[in-house]
Amino acid sequence: MSPLAKLLEAALFASARPVPTEELAVLDPDASPAALQAALDELREHYDTDGHGVELSDIGGGWQILTRPEYTETIERAQLALRPTRLTAASLETLAIIAYRQPIGRAEIEEIRGVNVAAVLRSLLERGLIEATGRGEGLGRPLLYGTTPQFLEQFALRHLDELPRADEFAVALRAEPRPV
C-alpha cells in the first residue's frame, strides 16, 4: 500500500468512531483532497480484494473500519465483543418520527404515536441517538429534539438525506381494492 494509505489505516485503527475526511486530512497536510480520496479508495480496495476480516466504510459522517458481517456471530459467541441491544418498537417509532420531522417536540411526537413518549425519549437520549437541539415556540417553550451523528453511525448512514423520502412511502392503505 502507499505510505498515505498505511498512515490512514493506522489512524482509522486507532479510532473507535468514524473519522471525518477533514480530520484525516490533518494527518498529511501535503496531501491533496484527491490524493486522500485515492488513498482511501486504495485501502478499501485492499481490504476487499486481499481477503481481510475487516472493511472500510464511510458512514456516520466519517470513515470507519468495521468487521465483516460474516464473523459477527462467531465473535459474539466467543464473547470477545457484544452487539448492541436492539431498539424496541416504541423506540424505533419515536426515532423514526424524530429522524423525519426534526426538530420536533415531545407533544408533536405523542400526537403522531398516540402514546406518552417521555420514557422512550429518555432512553434515546441516554443512548446518544437524539439530542435536544433547541426550544420551540409556544407554551413553556418546549424542547425540540433531533438526531445525533451517533444515530447516523448506528444506522450506517452517511447523511440524513440517505433516508428514503417520506413521500416515497406507500401511504395509501387501501389494503384490498374494494369494489365500490
Binding site: 486507532a14 479510532s15 465473535i75 398516540g114 448506528q154 401511504v171 389494503a175
Partner: protein, 247 residues
C-alpha cells in the same frame, strides 16, 4: 478450518426473544384491525372497528392504559357522530372519521420509516467497530481547551443555581489581581518559565487562586507571558515573553 456455524439445539430458542407489547400503541392496534378486517381505511366501518377495538383492549388487559382508553373514547365519539342526521345536506357535511384517517395514514408512514430504520440498524449491528483502543494509540481527538478558571466559573454557576439566595451579592473586588500580577512578574524575572505551582502555593486561599488565575490571563493578554501546554493534559507552562529579548 472454516467458520463454525452453530446449528446445535442449545442455541437459544427463538421464543426466548424479548416479548414486546403486542402493539406499539392504539394507532398500531387500530391499523392491525383495519388490516385484519380488510376494510378500506378511507371508509372505516366505525361501529364494527370500535367494537373490536374495545374487545381487543379488554383481551389484552389494556383497560387501564390511558392511551388506549383515549382512543376508545374517540372511536365511540366518532361512532355517535356518524349516527347524527346529516342536517346541512351533503354539501357541508364533514366526515367525522377524517381526522382519524389522517392520523392513521401519518402513522402508517412512520411504520414504513421504522421498517427502513430496522433494516439499516440490523446491517450495522452485524459489524463491529474497534472497541479496544490501547492508550498509547490515542484516536485523533482534538485536544481539550479547559482552564481552572472555567471550571471554577462552572462551580459558581452550579452553586448559584443550587442555593440561589446565598450567593446574591457578588463583589469580585475581593480579589487581589494586582498583587498576583506582581508575584507572577517577580517569578518570571528570575526564570524564563514557571509552572502553576510556582505561582500559587499548595495551601493557597481561594481568593489567591482566583487572583493568580486572573493575573495570568491578564498578563497573557498583555503579551507578557504565554501559557503553553506541550500536549493535551500536560501541565500548563507559564513562559516569559519579553518583547525586547532575543528568542
Amino acid at each position: 478450518m472454516t467458520v463454525p456455524i452453530d446449528l446445535s439445539p442449545d442455541a437459544p430458542p427463538p421464543s426466548f426473544v424479548v416479548e414486546l407489547p403486542e402493539y406499539a400503541g392504539p394507532l398500531d392496534l387500530l391499523l392491525s384491525l383495519i388490516r385484519d378486517e380488510k376494510v378500506d381505511i378511507y371508509d372505516i366501518p366505525i361501529a364494527r372497528i370500535c367494537e373490536q377495538f374495545l374487545a381487543r383492549i379488554h383481551d389484552l388487559g389494556l383497560n387501564e392504559a390511558a392511551d388506549y382508553l383515549e382512543m376508545a373514547a374517540r372511536l365511540i365519539r366518532i361512532k355517535a357522530q356518524m349516527l347524527l342526521p346529516r342536517s346541512a345536506g351533503e354539501e357541508g357535511w364533514e366526515d367525522p372519521r377524517a381526522e382519524l384517517v389522517r392520523r392513521l395514514l401519518e402513522y402508517q408512514q412512520i411504520r414504513e420509516a421504522v421498517d427502513v430504520l430496522e433494516k439499516l440498524s440490523e446491517d450495522r449491528r452485524s459489524r463491529f467497530a474497534r472497541s479496544y483502543i490501547p492508550v498509547s494509540n490515542a484516536p485523533p481527538v482534538a485536544p481539550l481547551s479547559l482552564s481552572l478558571a472555567e471550571l471554577l466559573a462552572a462551580v459558581d454557576r452550579v452553586l448559584r443555581a443550587a442555593r440561589e439566595p446565598v450567593l446574591h451579592d457578588i463583589v469580585p473586588r475581593a480579589l487581589d489581581v494586582d498583587g498576583a500580577i506582581e508575584t507572577v512578574r517577580a517569578v518570571l524575572a528570575l526564570r524564563s518559565s514557571a509552572l502553576w505551582r510556582d505561582i500559587v502555593r499548595g495551601n493557597a486561599e481561594p481568593w489567591e487562586v482566583l487572583s493568580a488565575l486572573l493575573a495570568l490571563l491578564e498578563l497573557a493578554r498583555r503579551g507578557e507571558l504565554r501559557l503553553a501546554q506541550s500536549r493535551p493534559f500536560a501541565s500548563v507552562e507559564i513562559v516569559r515573553e519579553s518583547p525586547g529579548e532575543a528568542a
